[in-house]
Symmetry: C2
Subunit: 142 residues, 2 copies
């Protein structure tokens, strides 16, 4: 359940030596609710429903802290904005450049590509941190 997941994450934050504050609690709650792929703005809106005084810059700073301890991850989509999501359940993102839809696919899909790149170019792809641009089914026909 969501509450359990949230509590686990909050415990993790404390274990990692980061402080647990009202803002961070609300942020984790928002991340759990959001189920991935949210911008900092989206998160601010969610958080502010519960805690109206939490400032957008706090969202950024907290996301940064959570990212350093491996709790969240972010991906840059085409046009400047970044989207954040919890880092458990690693997955990749397919982003439709027409409608902006984000499709999640399991990490394993990229395993073979990863092996190839590593063998041929010595390049280690970072699981969970890149987006593939293209067109989703609905937007595929030019």
């Amino acid at each position: 359940m969501d509450a359990a997941r949230r509590d686990r994450l909050i415990a993790l934050i404390r274990e990692q030596g980061e402080r647990v504050t009202t803002a961070r609690r609300a942020l984790v709650t928002a991340l759990v609710q959001a189920k991935g792929h949210v911008t900092a703005d989206d998160l601010a809106a969610l958080v502010q429903k519960a805690q109206p005084d939490v400032h957008l810059s706090t969202i950024y700073r907290s996301l940064d802290a959570l990212e350093r301890i491996g709790v969240v991850d972010h991906v840059h989509l085409g046009h400047g904005r970044a989207v954040y999501h919890l880092a458990d359940e690693p997955h990749q993102h397919l982003v439709c450049e027409v409608c902006g839809a984000v499709v999640e696919v399991p990490d394993a899909t990229f395993a073979e590509l990863g092996d190839n790149l590593h063998r041929r170019y010595g390049f280690t792809i970072r699981p969970n941190h890149f987006a593939v641009l293209g067109r989703c089914r609905a937007c595929a026909r030019d």
Copy 2:
């Protein structure tokens, strides 16, 4: 040779109904010299060696025009900035998140992944327009 490639591109611009101006000529020259992976700023610097009055906004507008007719392409690397390159010789980019190095790999490397994603998710990847983040050989050891 470079000059020939540049002239071919300039001819292409005219054929596509776009105007050929001093700024655009200089931009194409810069793109050919740069051999890929340059930011708008980089291009402005290169262009301004030859044509000091060309403004950065003109670079952006011209790149936009060239992109619309398929002469250039751009990729968003991790941190906000975009890099531009000529669109002939399609290739993909591997970007090292530690040192920023960009490794080019032929489009074909991604063919199988593309097939898989299309078959399983109806998602058509856009060749030539996404960057894969990870670590290059030199930065691979944590």
